[in-house]
């Protein structure tokens, strides 16, 4: 088992080396003529006004928050799902199903709550000043 993860690790290292190596090799060959305009931020041919680093709209964070909740719960379901078949074969299928159903129901209720609260709607008015 650990072997397999070693492969993943080596793969990751090699992948990083691949990118780094090709960028490094390229840096010997490619031209480099910087000038002040070239290193400006591109904004459709006009000089850029202000920084791009701003306090971004909350909606994005809201989605992220909902995501985290759902993803964690979905991850929790993986082990249950993995043993579901075994339970089924040992005759406890209905119990397992009830468990899964209950869990999904709670999740769905959560989704419904967010839905009704209109936090899923993109254009919901967010207080801003």
């Amino acid at each position: 088992m650990l072997n397999d993860f070693a492969l993943v690790l080596i793969f990751a290292v090699l992948g990083i080396l691949f990118i780094f190596g090709s960028l490094l090799a390229g840096s010997f060959l490619r031209p480099k003529n910087p000038n002040p305009v070239k290193s400006e931020i591109y904004e459709c041919g006009e000089p850029s006004k202000g920084s791009g680093w701003i306090n971004f709209n909350m909606r994005f964070y809201l989605i992220a928050l909902i995501f985290v909740i759902f993803d964690v719960e979905a991850a929790l379901m993986f082990p249950v799902a993995a043993v579901f078949k075994k339970w089924l074969l040992s005759g406890n299928g209905i119990l397992a199903l009830a468990e899964i159903g209950l869990f999904v129901l709670i999740l769905a209720a959560g989704l419904l709550y967010v839905w009704v609260k209109k936090d899923l709607d993109w254009a919901k008015k967010v207080v801003s000043d």
Binding site: N3, D4, F5, A6, L7, V8, I10, F11, A12, L14, G15, I16, I19, L23, A25, G26, S27, L29, P31, K32, N33, K38, E40, I41, Y42, E43, C44, S48, S51, G52, W53, F56, R59, F60, I63, A64, I66, F67, F70, D71, A74, A75, M77, F78, A81, A82, F84, K85, L88, G93, I94, L97, I100, V104, L111, V114, W115, L120, D121, W122
Partner: protein
């Protein structure tokens, strides 16, 4: 395998043999990835050309087949720009997770019953996790450039990818329910070679799960109709607006690599992966130990490429969604249906522990009917404008 190898080189310590073996496999997979992503970009351009009544690249090499090589070398020789006001460290960092996120999934893709980088027992979770790396890269690229278009692109990609990860994971759960394992090899071996033994046709809810999986996987891969992060007509080039040369190429690489990952996952999770009919297996085994694997690999590739081609065609057919519609599709359509399909599959398995053969055949034949209707309809479309399609005035 490793035991046999270490017997071959008794003087080397075990861990070194393992490391070398892993390295070889990794290099092979990376090579495969590069060799896939390049030509598929050429293929996509040719297909797109055909759809648009033009030709596509055909001058570079025979029929333009090494177009991708020229593109690669050109970008290799292109100046590498980092804007003055950008966050330089993050800017350099961004391509790594994007590239790795896609390539790392290759480790667990089973090309045949033997050919697999590593059959992790948490395979599916691993794939989801590795895929999650991509979004980090995209946000990093969007944020670090200090450009407003890239920022919007990065934010969109973040919102999109996390939203579609939920239905994706939930649809994977259906497969886990049916197979009882997270390992991809086990999932494939619990299916069969015949279509009725595939998970996709095992019950109607699994079919819904498959559709959800495909839609959200396309969204994860940032392909049309979900290509908002790099929406060319809205955000110039999205998160990679400021990237030039080689760094840009890695984003590109990842995009086409993603295609393969999506296709391969669809094939192995729902369509029986490398499973070949017993008749073929018997025939092949009689010829030698290699041939069954060749057949398996070919079968797997066939199933994968169908989806790769479908996604390519989809890209050149559909317009793109808006951000709020994108969210709507994910949260209001896909996620509820994913819940339904999980509970439904569980119920189905309790009610029909052996499966219901009639329903399997019904699903299979309705699928075939849809495909048949598709072909008929395509021919009808062809004939509707055909007589005039070759209309040329001056030639």
């Amino acid at each position: 395998m490793i035991q046999q190898l270490s017997l071959l080189f008794p003087m080397l310590p075990m861990w070194l043999v393992q490391a070398i073996w892993c390295g070889v496999v990794a290099v092979l997979l990376l090579t495969f990835f590069s060799l896939f992503a390049g030509p598929v970009s050429w293929l996509e351009r040719r297909i797109a050309g055909r759809i648009m009544s033009r030709i596509g690249p055909n001058r570079v090499g025979p029929q333009g087949i090494i177009q991708w090589l020229a593109d690669g070398v050109k970008n290799f020789l292109k100046e590498d720009l980092i804007p003055r006001d950008a966050d330089k460290i993050l800017f350099r960092f961004a391509p790594y997770p994007v590239f790795l996120g896609v390539t790392l999934t290759l480790v667990t893709l089973p090309f045949s019953s033997l050919l697999i980088g590593a059959d992790l027992n948490v395979g599916l979770l691993y794939i989801v996790g590795a895929w999650g790396l991509v979004v980090i890269g995209l946000i990093a690229a969007g944020w670090s450039s200090n450009n407003k278009w890239t920022l919007l692109g990065g934010m969109r990609s973040a919102a999109q990818m996390i939203s579609y990860e939920i239905p994706l994971v939930l649809s994977l759960l259906v497969v886990v329910l049916m197979s009882g394992s997270l390992s991809l090899q086990t999932i494939i071996s619990s299916q069969g070679a015949s279509p009725v033994e595939w998970f996709i046709f095992s019950n109607p809810f699994a079919f819904i799960a498959f559709v959800i999986f495909m839609i959200s996987a396309v969204a994860e891969g940032n392909r049309t109709p979900f290509d908002l992060p790099e929406a060319e007509s809205e955000l110039v080039a999205g998160y990679n607006t400021e990237y030039s040369g080689m760094r840009f190429l890695f984003f590109f690489f990842a995009e086409w690599g993603n295609l393969y990952v999506i296709g391969a996952l669809a094939a192995s999770l729902f369509l029986g992966g490398w499973q070949i009919p017993a008749g073929w297996r018997n025939f092949a085994s009689a010829q030698g130990p290699i041939l069954p694997h060749v057949f398996e690999v070919l079968m797997f590739q066939l199933k994968t490429w169908i989806w790769v081609l479908l996604i390519i065609q989809l890209r050149w057919t559909l317009p793109r969604l808006r951000v709020d519609q994108l969210m709507k599709v994910s949260w209001k359509y896909l996620t509820p249906f994913a819940f339904v399909s999980i509970v439904g599959t569980g119920l189905w398995m309790v009610v029909f522990p052996e499966g219901w053969l009639f329903m399997k055949y019904l699903l299979l034949f309705s699928m075939l009917a849809v495909i048949g209707y598709f072909v008929w309809r395509a021919i009808w479309q062809l004939r509707f404008t055909k007589s005039k399609a070759d209309f040329k005035l001056i030639v």
